[in-house]
Symmetry: C2
Subunit: 522 residues, 2 copies
């Protein structure tokens, strides 16, 4: 089911000073030449994920004389984000017709076996990474102008002519990121899975760190506030690129709706424009990201500059509370929390409010704005009490959400992370919800991350590590080079978009194992 | 059935001096800005050719907000050859996905109603003029790098997203030719059809006159010797661009097979290379084109330079004759004559030999090479006699061809054009073949042209004009802006390639009405 927001009457307010500061922090992208490692064949199997089989050495590339219908799949050895150049020639008689071929990119092998013609989902099929080219005169160097996210690149020759064949003489990528993998030491651990979780999380983060923190370099290459929060945390433990976080904070504060609410996401090309999607959890997280940034960087100027924006988000959230200090559900796509169909988000959002209000209170304290801090403190305290009074089901020992008193993971996790209960009680709640395994489970790695973070907050390190191995380790077992936007261990082909061909397989909100391992385990 | 030649062992011999002279005659293309005239809708009907219906004024272009599946068809008012630039923008929410669309070009309306997915012919589907584009950031100006031949341009939006629509703000073409339409006065005639035959022939020639005389600017954009002969003749009566003919003659002579035979066609990009297709009629025509060029231009230096090449083609043809001075059929795709399936080409080729030998004899005479001229004269005389003795069926009053004594149009036409019979007898033969209407008819406008030329040679001007009105006028009745590669008045959808979607609808060998009218009728 599509979850989109549109508000064509939205009025945007721009702060030129803030946008100037964002621009000053724009990274100079680091460009790295990457070459394919081998020629492979990707074969469908009974399993969800296909087999990748060695076909030939890359040195033999130009020995393949490609005619109508022929395919050639190159493996670039790891997940890459960049610009591809292909060198083509012809063999046989002179080229008496245009070369016509398709180039398809896949972040994972599964995409290469999926046919875009079958796609019928609600997200734009424009995201499927395939292009059609005609080349009138060979030999030719084809510089693809778009950026792709990929490990695999397949050429499929649609036609040459009866008289000649196409040869791919060389393929190369110029890969981009605002950071370098080499600048971060791998974690030292005896557990191979732990080292891989770290490495793959790090690669995920690296490939999403571009001109801004993108959610995913395949899709939708955009700065989202909720994703930024996790990326920034992982970045402080690894690449420590503070300027990129600062840039993103200033971008969000640099253009808001006329009521001051920060958008859930924004675009930087052709020029900055914030989207007309507003998710209350994401807006509130602005303050949390700001405080995390200050804690990591010590940059008091930015904290001062942007504190008003953080305060404003909490005021906007106030309007959502009823007289009993309970947050009311909004209309339509009002909050994110998770992709779970039919998820009642009310209790989880009560948790997100408390979580953020505590952090914004701290900002006020740091800046000496005592009255502001006191107001925030009073509010989250009342709302934490309201959560316990009205949302905690004593009999079940779990939080319930909304008019149907839905029991779901998200409510437990966010009210634990909010500190609505102490660590002992929180641990018990998390244990109980696992045993109950409610129908409204966790879909996104984003939600799964918060579950693990809640376990760690409650001191349950072993459970947290076991879960990371189960969940992110599951992606590893399917061959992930970067962590995915979506993963359901019980249904690895699940997608909220109607088809997994548009899924993003390098998604920043999934990068957190590198942060969790480095913060809690080494 | 595919008719292609391949000879990968062919040895090419290059004459750098000749290629230098060809290069010195390269035209500077004239570039003209052309804009679409109106927005149209092309509707299939019961007839072979669809209806083109006015949809909107071009000024309203940007009022169309294009979503998934929407199409917009622009009419550029006439057949164009050039480079297209499209300006796109988005409306609605910010562009949250790449714009993905198809651009399709059609020389005639029928192409726009044909689905390339249905194409299953033997010629490369790479010739179908459609492209797929993704645009990541709007607004954007899209400069299509390839050259297209078209009157109609259709945008089909494959996807945007649920939140925005694509707008085509402007479309323009930079059209190219080595000559200007304005430099030639239209023929003065009271007959509207005659004026249109001239105009459409002229436009056809204009759009094929590029860096060389192309056979067709859609397909296959290449210099063919047989086509060149007719283009050059039409050019002398109209644009009078002698250098372009000179260039093409030097290109053919500038690279040949090691036995000196000129190729049927050649490529100029990325550098000159002659094809491995050899058609004996086309090779022999080298001399005819050379003499026509000299007659039109008076350029004796070129005649001297290239006479040896013209002589050589006739020597190569000698090897094809048997002891009775009859030309033997070759193997495979050895001669062109026409596309007619199962056509026996022996008698027609005997005619082509005589036709060309007479002209090459004249070259020798002009250059004072008397002995050479005498030899050629003796040969064509003997071969003309052999044609009458062995190929003329007295009872039927028609020429027969090959071991099966096939009666076809081509034999009559070429032996008449060769002067194997006098004008009176020639006229009777042409009358008889029309009455008999043999199964092996005429398929290409190229063959039909020679039929009309034969009528004119025999003084049958009214028949010639009636036939032009029937044949080329038939294309006009289907809305032709330029004359087509192929046209069968009895089966207007016929194609030798398995589907008419790859047909060329601006084809130089069909341009001849402008020449015939200007030479014989005004």
């Amino acid at each position: 089911m599509p979850e989109v927001s549109m508000d064509l009457n939205m009025v945007r307010v721009t702060n030129g000073d803030f946008l100037g500061k964002a621009e000053a922090c724009a990274p100079k992208l680091i460009r790295t030449a990457v070459h394919p490692q081998r020629i492979v064949e990707i074969r469908k199997t009974e399993a969800v994920h296909p087999e990748v089989v060695w076909r030939d050495r890359i040195e033999n590339l130009s020995k393949y004389h490609l005619k109508k219908g022929d395919k050639l799949c190159l493996d670039f050895g790891d997940h890459q984000v960049g610009y591809v150049t292909l060198k083509f020639a012809s063999v046989g008689s002179p080229q008496d017709a245009p070369a016509f071929f398709k180039v398809k990119f896949g972040e994972i092998a599964k995409e290469m076996t999926e046919d875009s013609a079958d796609y019928d989902g609600w997200i734009s099929r424009g995201w499927i990474q395939e292009e059609y080219f005609h080349i009138d005169v060979l030999p030719a160097e084809l510089k693809l102008t778009r950026r792709y996210a990929f490990r695999y690149l397949e050429i499929e020759v649609i036609d040459t002519s009866l008289k000649w064949a196409l040869v791919l003489e060389d393929a190369a990528a110029e890969c981009v990121s605002s950071v370098r993998m080499d600048d971060v030491q791998p974690v030292e651990s005896e557990g191979e899975v732990i080292r891989r979780l770290d490495r793959v999380g790090l690669r995920t983060l690296h490939n999403c760190m571009q001109d801004v923190f993108e959610d995913g370099p395949k899709r939708d290459r955009r700065l989202w506030l909720g994703d930024l929060r996790l990326q920034a945390l992982a970045n402080y433990a690894t690449f420590k690129n503070y300027d990129l976080v600062k840039r993103c904070l200033y971008l969000f504060a640099g253009q808001t709706r006329d009521d001051g609410q920060v958008s859930a996401c924004l675009f930087t090309e052709p020029e900055i424009i914030v989207d007309d999607t507003f998710l209350l959890d994401y807006s509130m997280f602005f303050g949390a990201v700001l405080l995390d940034y200050y804690d990591a960087s010590g940059d008091l100027d930015t904290l001062k500059d942007l504190s008003a924006c953080a305060y404003r988000q909490m005021e906007i959230a106030d309007a959502q509370f009823d007289e009993n200090d309970l947050l009311k559900a909004g209309e339509g796509f009002w909050a994110f929390i998770d992709w779970t169909d039919g998820l009642d988000k009310q209790a989880a959002m009560q948790g997100v409010y408390i979580y953020c209000a505590k952090r914004v209170q701290k900002i006020a304290e740091i800046l000496g704005e005592t009255a502001k801090a006191e107001v925030l403190k009073a509010k989250w305290k009342a709302r934490a009490k309201a959560a316990l009074d009205a949302l905690y089901d004593e009999e079940k020992g779990l939080f319930v959400s909304g008019p149907e008193r839905q029991i779901n993971y998200a409510s437990q996790v966010w009210l634990v992370l909010a500190g609505a209960v102490d660590k002992k009680k929180g641990g018990e709640i998390l244990e109980r919800v696992l045993v109950l395994n409610p129908e409204k489970g966790m879909v996104s790695p984003y939600m799964n991350h918060h579950y693990v973070e809640a376990l760690l907050l409650c001191g349950r390190k072993d459970d947290a590590m076991d879960y990371m191995k189960y969940y992110w380790g599951g992606m590893l077992s399917h061959g992930a080079d970067t962590f995915w936007e979506l993963y359901n261990p019980e249904d690895p082909s699940e997608s909220p978009y109607g088809s997994s061909i548009v899924n993003s397989y390098c998604h920043a909100w999934s990068c957190t194992p590198t942060w969790l391992i480095r913060t809690y385990f080494v």
